[in-house]
Amino acid sequence: MSALLEVDSVSVSFDGFKAINNLSFNIGAVELRAVIGPNGAGKTTFMDIVTGKTKPDAGRVLWGEDSRSLLKMNEAQIARAGVGRKFQRPTVFEDQSVSANLTMALKANRGPFGVLFWRPSATSAARVAELAEEVGLSEQIDRKAGELSHGQKQWLEIGMLLAQEPRLLLVDEPAAGMTLAEREQTTTLLRRLAETRAVVVVEHDMDFVRRLECKVTVLHQGSVLAEGSLDHVTRNPDVIEVYLGR
């Protein structure tokens, strides 16, 4: 079994509306994948299921080499297992400094008592500095996250994700609200990250997806419509019909 994440015949409905309908989907351990689809195709719900926010009505979600079921775990346990999620709207802790935000995200014991007796070390301080450097926030490290610009918050959140060192990274519309240069930077970062782990990008923006140069999965009405390279799927008549044809 080479897949890191295996989503198998998953269905979920809200008040009779089938948000995810018999969805099956695999991600390898080292892979960059873009998930596209029109509004209501079930992209966000798919991420909610993988991260434990929503429990599906049917199906399996298996994780890792030993194929553990993610459905029995809560959000925190899934995150600790190595699934990182970046929200569409940047969510950082605005009341706290950039370094505190990053320190919190650092891979370490997450239990209350572990955290209580955790003390910053030279390594942890260096790692925070390094992460800040990487996302271009070295200068802002002691500022409150709430004082950062929108783009900087995006970067801080990405920095926090890196600090978590996830094996699977779920990224929800990273390009939203970014300048062209920032998009450029984001693309590079995502591609570099995908060299050592699995990255799933949910995106609207076709140009951005094209830049990622990766395998694309098209969702429609809660199930996979097509899969392959962007060029491949854009030639698929079904895809053109439901998505591009509009």
Binding site: E75, M104, G111, W118, I141, D142
Partner: protein
């Protein structure tokens, strides 16, 4: 890497400790027992009790200001602490009295007779003469002191586990904590609850074993104990909120979901803080009621806990010293105004008696604070210190690189 002890990194802690020490010394020097008697013993007791309330407010600030749970049941833990220590105080003292009176008999009393006589003395008022099961450990100070933290701790743990597990939060959780307090109060109001119904426990100001000391001396000792407890737990609370733990709980307050996606077991953190705060509150209560002398179920009606929240809000939540300021200022002002010592205001055609109008003024001022000064009194301090000292970004940077 060298790292300053966290107390030195937080000057506010030193200031609070210094003020507390100065206050304690000053009161001692003006007390009847150890000084010139400028402060009457009753006032020493009021001040000692105020320190206990301040400690309860600090715990409330941990739960509300830092963790974001508006618990409207904190005073239940406070009163439980009082009840637990009160059981020993009342039992031991009654035992002494009863033993003395039984010694008048020609035949020495058996242990069973002694216990029955004690039970009759304590529970005669609710028409019972058996010692209830909950008084099993009342003869032992050590065991009751353990219960002071154990009973509220376990209650908080169980309640918190149930509530947090089902992800009840926000106003729902507040209402639930209020319901818990009300349930406990109603339970204690019953005559057969084992805690003497609405009579409560009384005579707690008489400390068994210290009969030789007068109330003037005891009041100062309790003031010291209260000040010491406040100091110790203030430092503990400050330590708790200063490091990464503090970061995480504030993060939970601001965005619980996001913290979950970082992999932190949010419920575990909530449970730790909620339980710890309950225990601290219980200790405050255990020190408060021997100074008050009496405890009854009215003490844990929901309104008391809401007042605690009011003090913290007026003092400034999310600031530990804010909680102390709020508790001290508002509770002392309240007792001054409702004690009938405040001068009446004579308006043309109407005389404002503060006894009647203080509650109205407090309610309205509370609305005003919520509307116009959400950070409370401590917020004003912050603004002042913010004017004096600019950002301390630079020194921290060096620290990171060192």
């Amino acid at each position: 890497m060298t790292r300053q002890p966290f107390i030195l990194r937080n000057p506010s802690i030193l200031i609070v400790l210094a003020v507390l020490a100065a206050f304690t010394v000053a009161v001692t020097l003006m007390s009847a027992a150890y000084g010139n008697g400028a402060i009457p013993t009753s006032m020493v007791k009021v001040l000692g009790k105020t320190l206990c309330l301040a400690l309860a407010a600090v715990a409330m600030d941990l739960v509300w200001g830092y963790l974001g749970i508006l618990s409207l049941g904190q005073m239940a833990f406070f009163a439980l602490g009082g009840y637990m220590v009160g059981q020993w105080l009342m039992y031991a003292r009654t035992e002494t009295i009863v033993a003395a009176s039984l010694a008048q008999n020609p035949i020495p009393a058996t242990p069973l007779e002694l216990q029955e006589a004690v039970a009759n003395q304590i529970f005669g008022v609710v028409g019972s003469s058996d010692l209830p099961l909950v008084w099993t450990f009342a003869h032992s100070l050590t065991l009751q002191l353990i219960l002071v933290v154990a009973v509220p701790g376990i209650l908080a743990l169980v309640f918190g586990w149930l509530a947090f597990r089902s992800r009840v939060n926000g106003v729902y959780l507040s209402i639930l904590t209020q319901a818990m307090t009300l349930a406990l109060a109603l339970w204690l109001f019953q005559n057969d609850s084992g805690f003497r119904g609405n009579n409560g426990l009384s005579g707690l100001q008489n400390i068994p074993g210290l009969e030789g000391r007068d109330q003037a001396t005891l009041s100062v000792w309790f003031l010291w104990a209260s000040a010491a407890a406040l100091a110790v737990f203030y430092v503990l609370a400050a330590w708790l909120v200063s490091g990464k733990f503090g970061s995480v709980i504030r993060a939970i307050r601001d965005d619980e979901t996001r913290v979950r996606f970082l992999g932190y077991p949010v419920e575990g953190f909530k449970l730790v803080v909620f339980t710890l705060a309950a225990m601290i509150t219980a200790i405050a209560g255990a020190l408060y009621y021997p100074q008050a002398g009496i405890i009854n179920p009215a003490e844990l009606m929901p309104i008391a806990s809401i007042y605690l929240a009011v003090w913290v809000a007026i003092g400034g939540r999310g600031r530990l010293y804010g909680a102390i300021i709020g508790a001290v200022v508002v509770s002392l002002l309240s007792s001054w105004f409702t004690g009938g010592r405040a001068p009446d205001i004579r308006l043309p055609g109407y005389v404002v008696h503060w006894v009647d109008w203080w509650q109205v003024a407090l309610g309205l001022s509370f609305v005003l604070v919520t509307l116009f000064a959400p950070k409370g009194i401590a917020g004003i301090f912050d603004r002042l210190s913010g004017l004096r000292a600019p950002r301390r970004a630079a020194p921290r940077k060096q620290e990171v690189k060192a």
